[in-house]
């Protein structure tokens, strides 16, 4: 079997990056002083993958950016990650946790106006035969401190993902004003 270019791009780096490769589904910009959580509901089942792109800051001293799928707060998530603090590296993870992990974001008390960036992919989200796997790259640099992290999470459910709830430290914090989170569908 031979595989030709998936798209018409003339160079290798154009693969899968042509126009309309992904579609915007919904976006939230926090206009108030802060919100406790951001939720995407009634997600269409017509894409292959979902991508959540974020530029967020915690309104409290909590910095863990987490998610739950289909409102499931049970101990049905596992996480594995690799991260760098700017002076050290480490790997970590956990089993039977109550949320998936996106990464680490700037928090109240951090460098003013600094936010954390994140890209979270939810793979094959509409499939009804597999547990769901996510991967994320997320981090904040604060000019002298910061953290960059890669995480993979498993949600142990075969249900199709119809909603995503994003929280700071499982609801112990909130998203600060001007935080933005956007949901996209990626075509297969």
């Amino acid at each position: 079997m031979s595989i030709s270019s998936a798209k018409s791009g003339g160079t290798g780096i154009s693969l899968a990056l042509d126009n309309n490769y992904m579609e915007p589904i919904a976006s939230v910009l926090v206009s108030a002083s802060s919100v406790g959580l951001i939720e995407f509901l009634d997600i269409p089942q017509t894409y292959k993958h979902l991508q959540i792109r974020s530029n967020v800051r915690s309104s409290t001293a909590n910095a863990n950016f987490t998610f739950q799928l289909n409102g499931d707060g049970g101990s049905n998530y596992s996480n594995h990650n690799l991260y760098g603090t700017g002076s050290a590296t480490a790997a970590g993870g956990g089993t039977s946790e109550t949320a998936g992990y996106c990464g680490w974001i700037a928090q109240s008390g951090s460098t003013a106006n600094a936010f954390g960036g994140g890209v979270l992919d939810i793979l094959d989200y509409a499939n009804t035969n597999k547990y769901k796997t996510t991967r994320s790259l997320c981090g904040s640099d604060l000019n002298g401190s910061g953290l960059i992290i890669m995480n993979s999470a498993c949600w142990m459910s075969t249900a199709p993902v119809t909603s995503v709830t994003l929280k700071v430290s499982l609801g112990s914090g909130g998203f600060a004003q001007y935080s933005r989170i956007s949901l996209y569908g990626i075509k297969g």
Partner: protein, 173 residues
Amino acid sequence: MAAKTGTYTLISSSTLTTTTATVTFSSIPSTYTDLVLVANPLSTNNRDVILRFNSDTGTNYSITFLSGYGGGTPAFSSGRTTSQGFMYADYYAASNTTQNIRQINIMDYANTTTYKTALIRSSNANAYPSGGVETLVGLWRSTAAINTVAVSLSADSFLSGSVFKLYGIEAAK
């Protein structure tokens, strides 16, 4: 919820035909939510790829990185730079004529209230043992909307054949 039409739009593309010190994307429209710069930079010598926004050469850039090195004794490390006059887009250098790729996500680039954060992934596919992979988060301490992105090397120039593509991602309205 109903999705709108597609996004991930090519804004500009440059494939160098001559040796070039700096590739500049200017007059970037503010109509997107994020920018993604995909680059395949080539150089004669091993050099770092660096970024500047809006022609700012002040010491307003910093990064935190995590890198893996495959040569000799394979290792990984983390480090940072602070208050520099540019943002590193890799720790490992663009290398000779070997393929190497950077994907640079510039988040919420057009807003005028937050400092700007970039998430960067890079790989250097130099033949063993000198290759490496790296991911970085960068901060530009400015609330200005980004309308210009300049890509350079820490020294020398990009070689002919280097490719740079700038995409815009537009969130739902």
